[in-house]
């Protein structure tokens, strides 16, 4: 990341009456970065995005865009443009007029304006639909008009509020790929709000996970998936098997934690200091547990019983009860060996890699005014 971030959010709080929608949010987003805000419904993603766009003003804290404080600056004077969740295509204008909307003010002259509108529509592959009205477009096409309308103004930051949530799965995946290549092509900062973890993982350079108005973790997709900091981050991004354990001590290679059934694990040190002898939560991803077939052997094994099974086409999700563990373990097997044929109640053996465990911090207590 370059030295001065494109967007610097500094200890921002936002109250709606006595309800705290954003709580001490600090965040830096670099120039040219594809940044995702991820979190469950109602966690404050839209509020944060609207604060960057200028539609909501933070109750306290500072937001700097490209080095200038944006507090009190109205949306029309910010170098940001937004793609609305509902797309907000002007119904009284056709596609070209929609895209030209923001250009009118720049007084470019008819030729230059037409050239820019044409180029923007080409960029989103809508060149042939310029004369259509908004209600004559499909969801995916409307979304592209909204993109072209914002990008034609060459903003420094493009803000997208769940732009894909109204599309069906197939189109959504198509548009995800397009968004990603569009961002690479134009090279500006994208801030994408989503509650779809896979979308965030697949598209962004970095992700901020939010819960209840707070930022729980900011990291690259890989980092956040492999080393979630807290239980709720781990849970929100894909499944996770949680195990309780007790810290034994610290060695040069990391922290040793004693667990039921999985023995003593050595885990990389978390940011927070952990007391020896304290209770700790460790987790392992379902796909890091592996079924052992026939007389296959592994250095670390457990035995269990299939409690439940769900078929997902390319994979099968299994719930495996292990004696001595409170909760059954969930695991994901590709259907290449016949995991989809395992009956419920079958006795199985599974292998695990002690390196695959992560230590998870407890969630900060949810602080709410009411």
């Amino acid at each position: 990341m370059p030295d001065t971030p494109m967007i610097a959010i500094d200890r921002v709080n936002k109250f709606y009456g006595i309800y705290k929608a954003l709580s001490d949010v600090s965040l830096n987003i670099g120039a040219g970065e594809f940044f995702a805000l991820l979190g469950p419904s109602g966690c404050g993603k839209t509020t944060l995005l609207r604060s960057i766009a200028g539609f909501d003003n933070p109750s306290s804290g500072d937001i700097r865009i490209d080095g200038h404080s944006a507090i009190g600056v109205p949306p029309n004077l910010r170098p940001t443009n937004m793609v609305f969740q509902s797309y907000a295509i002007f119904p009284h204008l056709n596609v070209e007029e929609n895209v030209a909307y923001g250009l009118k003010r720049l007084k470019l002259g008819a030729d230059e304006e037409r050239r820019r509108v044409g180029a923007a529509l080409e960029q989103v592959r809508l060149g042939h639909l310029g004369k259509r009205r908004g209600h004559e477009l499909s969801g995916g096409q409307r979304q592209r008009v909204a993109l072209a309308r914002a990008l034609v103004l060459r903003p420094k930051v493009l803000l997208l509020d769940e732009p894909l949530s109204a599309l069906d799965k197939k189109l959504r995946e198509e548009m995800q790929a397009e968004l990603r290549s569009l961002q690479r092509a134009v090279g500006i900062t994208f801030v994408l709000v989503t509650h779809d973890q896979y979308e965030a993982l697949a598209l962004s350079d970095r992700i901020a996970v939010m819960f209840g108005g707070r930022i729980a973790q900011v990291a690259t997709p890989k980092e956040i998936y492999q080393h979630p900091r807290t239980k709720s981050v781990a849970d929100f991004l894909g499944g996770m098997n949680f195990l309780s354990g007790r810290t034994l001590g610290q060695t040069a290679s990391g922290l040793t934690v004693e667990t039921e059934k999985f023995g003593t694990l050595t885990l990389s040190l978390p940011e927070e200091r952990i007391e020896v002898g304290a209770r700790a939560t460790v987790g392992i991803r379902p796909e890091r547990l592996r079924l052992l077939w026939d007389d296959e052997r592994a250095p670390h094994e457990l035995t269990g019983k299939v409690v439940n099974r769900a078929y997902f086409g390319e994979t099968t999700h299994l719930l495996v009860g292990v004696e001595g563990l409170e909760k059954p373990l969930s695991m994901i097997e590709t259907n290449t060996h016949g995991a989809d044929d395992l009956p419920i109640g079958a006795d199985i053996r599974l292998a695990y890699d002690p390196e695959a465990f992560v230590l998870l911090a407890d969630d900060p207590p949810v602080e709410r005014v009411h």
Partner: protein, 306 residues
């Protein structure tokens, strides 16, 4: 228009007995269901208009109607200076009234829609309150306000703004305009309010996001999208006010006489129903044309703004 309808014979034809097979169809049962209202509407709306239309081509000699077709009535209605004046004034008054009413109602509707908060319905309710009293009473109260020794004059004098009552407040076209605007405002606010309510608020935010100031986003998004409401408000006010009879009679004086007074005179004392009918038809056509032109002009203006 009320005048033409009021004395027409209401002929209610008995419904035809339906034929057996057709009577089983859905169409038949549907028609049967609406037939009372349909007959009612047809007899009370279409018939009087047809009768007035027919009368306008006849002539009258004292009490006898001569049914030979003639265009003489239209010649009088269109070329007699007195009727030209009256019709012209009526059109100007109704145009001014409808434009002023919309201009006053729009900000009110806008305020309720955008800043009414949780109390939108209360605001709307309050706006309809004046309509609970009789129309006559409301017109009379303007007489009290605008009169020579009325509320406005005594108020102005006691405030020291004038030392003599202003005589020109009542009994002229201005008084007619003021009274009519007040009477019709509630009817103009409602359609405008409805069209403003229908505007997706994110469109306004999108306009702001794309670089518009508050004012520009209003002009480029809110105004064009509320045009249907403006047009219905204009028509709702313009069409009935041309033929208004009561208001000019009560507050218009000599100067504020409108075409309806002349029409009434022909059907009454003048005893020339055919001329009255021709005046009615002429008014009807001219006001429709004016309404159409106004709507067209508005659409053009809004199209230009983009």
């Amino acid at each position: 228009m009320a005048i033409t309808a009021s004395h027409a014979p209401a002929e209610l034809a008995p419904p035809e007995p339906p034929r057996p097979r057709w009577s089983a169809s859905e169409e038949a049962s549907g028609l049967a269901l609406i037939s009372p209202t349909l007959l009612y509407a047809v007899s009370l709306l279409a018939l009087p208009i047809l009768i007035v239309f027919a009368y306008s081509f006849w002539s009258q000699d004292y009490l006898t109607i001569d049914r030979a077709l003639t265009l003489e009535n239209y010649r009088t209605a269109l070329f007699e200076p007195m009727y030209q004046d009256l019709l012209g004034r009526s059109l100007v008054i109704s145009l001014v009234v409808s434009l002023v009413t919309v201009a006053i109602s729009y900000p009110i509707a806008w305020f309720i829609s955008f800043h009414g908060g949780r109390h939108k319905n209360l605001w709307l309710f309050l706006i309809t309150v004046p309509c609970w009293t009789s129309y006559l009473l409301r017109v009379m109260s303007w007489k009290v306000i605008l009169g020579y020794q009325g509320v406005l004059n005594t108020g102005l004098m006691s405030a020291g703004i004038t030392d003599q009552p202003i005589a020109s407040l009542l009994y002229n076209s201005n008084a007619v305009v003021i009274t009519l605007v007040h009477s019709w405002a509630a009817f103009a606010i409602l359609p405008i309010f409805v069209s403003l309510e229908k505007i997706d608020r994110s469109l306004i935010e999108a306009a702001r996001d794309l670089g518009d100031t508050r004012l520009m986003s209003f002009v480029r998004v809110v105004l064009p999208l509320s045009l249907p409401g403006i047009i219905s408000a204009l028509l709702i006010v313009m069409i009935p006010t041309v033929g208004d009879y009561v208001t000019p009679k009560l507050v218009g004086g000599k100067d504020g006489v409108m075409i309806a007074t002349a029409i009434q005179a022909q059907f009454g004392k003048g005893a020339n129903w055919p001329l009255g009918a021709a005046l009615s038809v002429t008014t009807m056509i001219v006001v429709s044309a004016m309404a159409g032109l106004t709507v067209l002009a508005l659409k053009l203006v809004v199209r230009k703004i983009r």
